[in-house]
């Protein structure tokens, strides 16, 4: 809601716009252009890192909608991603569909599965629901591990997407598929949460009984939130399967779902930019731990030969606890404060 001095909204459209001033537009376009040329000047590592970041962002955006906006904490996002990946893999490999058809279908199928996954939310909420989604995670992965069509424990190999004879088989090429989808999904999420549906989600989150009294159909909106969230997870899973070219149950463990929730907490529940902050913060932190741990192991031999796993988890846990206790509104809130204070500088308010 903050804007520079002297800018007034004369029309409703202007008041509702996400990008407000012409300077914003220029900044947005310039940064998008720079961003889109990353594969040309960035190293291969940076590009592949950004790809995984973007896929995680899509999955966590979905989680933000169901958990951050609708208040139904879900530990099942990794399983839903797995389902999306597998659906896409089966459709392309076994039924010979093209990636461009399979990906949206994977999203829709996962969304429909999310209606089953979200069914317990009709009876229970809060941590009861959170633990129920853990149950859904394990049941889903068990199914993927034991069905004939999903290749059982061997998993499935997936081909890279292609247009005509152009194959998207490197990370640089996949970048141009993943990025537009991520931007589109972000845009969709940003708009969804400020429509009637989004406001209904927030009402359900803040007090479901009160929301019901106001005439909001609880079941409809809870299930809708799960549908949308799983649609996002399905798309993310599909992209992930086609990026890594393999679908395997061990790519999607409960720990991944826990990390996603953690990213949401660090970024800030109930904020779309928060997703970006959370994902980037946690992933970069993890990457730093991974790169630094061999040196730490040299300096502190008592840490053992390879402290990365332990240190990474510990750092994550500490960061999470600190955010929950000291800044429950997450980095998104810090960002708002920073924006406001830099606008007013050198005055306090």
């Amino acid at each position: 809601m903050w804007r520079p001095c002297g800018v007034f909204d004369a029309t409703y459209e202007k008041d509702m716009a996400i990008v407000r001033t012409s300077r914003h537009w220029i900044a947005l376009i310039v940064s998008l252009v720079i961003f889109f040329f990353i594969p040309l000047y960035g190293s291969y590592y940076i590009v592949s890192f950004i790809n995984t970041l973007a896929i995680t962002i899509i999955a966590v955006l979905g989680l933000q909608i169901v958990s951050g906006y609708c208040g139904q904490i879900s530990f099942g996002q990794a399983a839903f991603m797995a389902l999306g990946g597998y659906t896409s893999a089966v459709l392309t490999q076994k039924f010979g569909l093209s990636f461009w058809v399979a990906m949206p279908l994977a999203g829709i199928f996962t969304g429909l599965y999310g209606l089953i996954g979200g069914a317990p939310s009709m009876r229970i909420k809060g941590f009861y629901l959170a633990i129920a989604t853990i149950a859904i995670h394990f049941v889903t992965l068990w199914l993927l591990l034991h069905l004939e069509i999903t290749g059982k424990s061997v998993g499935l190999t997936v081909d890279s997407p292609q247009i005509g004879s152009f194959v998207f088989d490197t990370d640089e090429r996949m970048f141009y598929i993943i990025m537009p989808i991520m931007i589109l999904m972000t845009y969709a999420a940003r708009n969804l949460v400020r429509t009637r549906v989004g406001r209904a989600f927030v009402a359900v989150r803040d007090n479901d009984l009160a929301a019901q009294v106001m005439g909001i159909n609880l079941y409809y909106y809870k299930l809708l939130a799960f549908f949308v969230s799983c649609f996002y997870a399905g798309i993310a899973g599909s992209l992930y399967a086609h990026l890594t070219m393999v679908c395997h149950p061990e790519q999607f463990t409960l720990l991944h779902a826990l990390w996603y929730i953690g990213m949401l907490i660090v970024g800030g529940l109930g904020s779309i930019p928060g997703v970006f902050f959370g994902v980037v913060f946690i992933r970069v932190m993890d990457e730093i731990v991974l790169i630094a741990s061999p040196y730490l192991a040299d300096w502190f031999p008592w840490l053992g030969m390879a402290p990365a796993a332990g240190l990474g988890l510990t750092a994550f846990g500490v960061v999470l606890a600190v955010f929950l206790i000291k800044e429950p509104r997450g980095l998104a809130h810090r960002w708002e404060i920073l924006k406001a204070s830099s606008r007013l500088y050198p005055f306090a308010y």
Binding site: S43, Y44, Y45, S48, F49, T52, L145, K152, S153, V154, G155, T157, V158, D171, T244, M245, V246, H248, E250, Q251, T253, L255, H256, V284, E287, I288, L290, I291, A292, S293, P294, Y295, G304, M305, A306, A308, A309, G310, G312, R334, I337, L338, S341, S342, Y345
Partner: protein, 406 residues
């Protein structure tokens, strides 16, 4: 508040800058062996000592001046039994020409790497899936593949069965992890067992991380199993034997462990439970490994650890290191030390047939048609809290070719 944020950003920027400095320290002329290993999780018991072995052997060679001056740097990365992390770590170095070989421990990571390196001639060390032998590519197994070791065990079982003077067919069952690894040994192993006249019972597969195995053991007992081949990485075998002993099954059933089975460490934890277990192994175990001069030297002088902390899995890593150094030596001889590329190292791996591994394992058997690292195994038995050899090196049958591969 504002000051805090800025300070925080500065720290972050410094850390990222530090990252960049750290990652660019390898001198350009060295070559790199990248080890994607799992130091925690279900396969840590094998991956950790194995990685130490390779690291120490490469250090040892480098200390002696490397391969004609060319040093092989060891780059160990903990993938935490997480496929995504392993792939991201590999991608970080994928275009780095200095990386001439990659080591992998977990089977699913191997499967993904196969998809990733389809078109490249990059040597990848993997534990022992027969799939790589069936479709020769850039994946090289450490020792004999799982199905060949299983087939050798079937031979041993048939002998033992005859020696005991029993009639009829012995009932053999596999008890292993419910993942790609756990099913691998039967792809070919099954056909071999049937040919040899052993009766295979349905396999019992359990998820990694299972802590109790009572249900599976009682079912095997009910099915009348005579021999149970236990898969998984120790302490899985130790845990299985602990439960079997508690249920009193060790009298009735002869348990045999896959080659990732109990080491001296596992035996020291549960000496009574493991008593009588037979272990098929392609690397030295027990006193033989403790007395091996090279292992002893590396462990005490390079790793600088006392011998009572020694783990036999170390020998696997040293064996892999010997292969790598052998191949690089061959490459340097053929093309000179400035032209060591991934492709040339790969070609050298195909010429390693007969490389002597100082008795740590059998002679190397890599060749243009073979990707399995050895073709001999040894049988050990846990007796009196010690693991002692009961046979000499035994030739493994070829079970891979008996399976109808897709």
């Amino acid at each position: 508040m504002r000051n805090h944020s800025i300070r925080w950003l500065v720290v972050l920027a410094l850390v990222i800058f530090g990252m960049g400095v750290f990652t660019s320290t390898a001198p350009a002329k060295d070559i790199i062996f990248m080890d994607l290993s799992d130091y925690t999780g279900p396969v840590a018991g094998l991956a950790l000592p194995g990685s130490m072995g390779t690291e120490d052997y490469l250090k040892y060679i480098n200390n002696k001046g490397g391969v004609e001056g060319l040093k092989i740097k060891y780059m160990g990365i903990d993938t935490r039994y997480d496929v995504a992390r392993a792939i991201s770590a590999f991608k970080r170095q994928r275009r780095n020409k200095q990386v001439v070989a990659v080591g992998i421990v977990s089977t699913p990571v191997g499967k993904m790497m196969q998809a990733l390196t389809k078109k490249e001639k990059l040597v990848v060390h993997v534990p022992g899936d027969g799939e790589f032998q069936a479709h020769p590519g850039n994946f090289f197994t450490w020792g004999p593949v799982y199905q060949d070791a299983f087939a050798a065990t079937i031979d041993w079982i048939m002998d033992d069965w005859e020696k005991k003077g029993e009639s009829g067919k012995p009932k053999v069952a596999v008890l292993s992890w419910d993942n790609a690894y756990g099913r691998e040994m039967l792809r070919g192993g099954k056909e071999y067992a049937e040919m040899k006249g052993a009766q295979l019972l349905p396999s019992e597969l359990f998820p990694t991380g299972t802590l109790k195995h009572d249900v599976y053991l009682t079912r095997l007992d009910k099915a009348g199993a005579n021999y149970v081949y236990v898969g998984g990485v120790d302490p899985v075998q130790t845990n299985v034997m602990r439960d079997a002993t508690a249920l009193g099954l060790t009298e009735k059933i002869q348990f045999i462990s896959d080659y990732w089975g109990p080491t001296a460490l596992g035996i020291s934890l549960h000496p009574k439970a493991l008593e009588g277990m037979v272990v098929v192994s392609f690397f030295l175990r027990g006193q033989e490994a403790f007395d091996h001069p090279l292992l002893k030297e590396l462990w005490t002088t390079v790793r600088k650890q006392p011998m009572d902390k020694f783990n036999e899995g170390y020998g696997i890593g040293v064996g892999a290191g010997i292969n790598l150094v052998g191949a690089v030596t061959d490459t340097v001889k053929r093309v000179g030390k400035n032209k060591v590329t991934r492709e040339e190292v790969h070609n050298s791996y195909l010429r390693l047939t007969g490389l002597d591994r100082q008795g740590l394992a059998g002679r190397c058997t890599y060749s243009p048609t073979r990707r399995a690292g050895a073709d001999v195994v040894k049988f050990y038995k846990v007796t009196g809290g010690k693991i002692v050899p009961i046979t000499d090196w035994v030739q493994t049958p070829d079970a891979v070719s008996m399976h109808k591969w897709k």
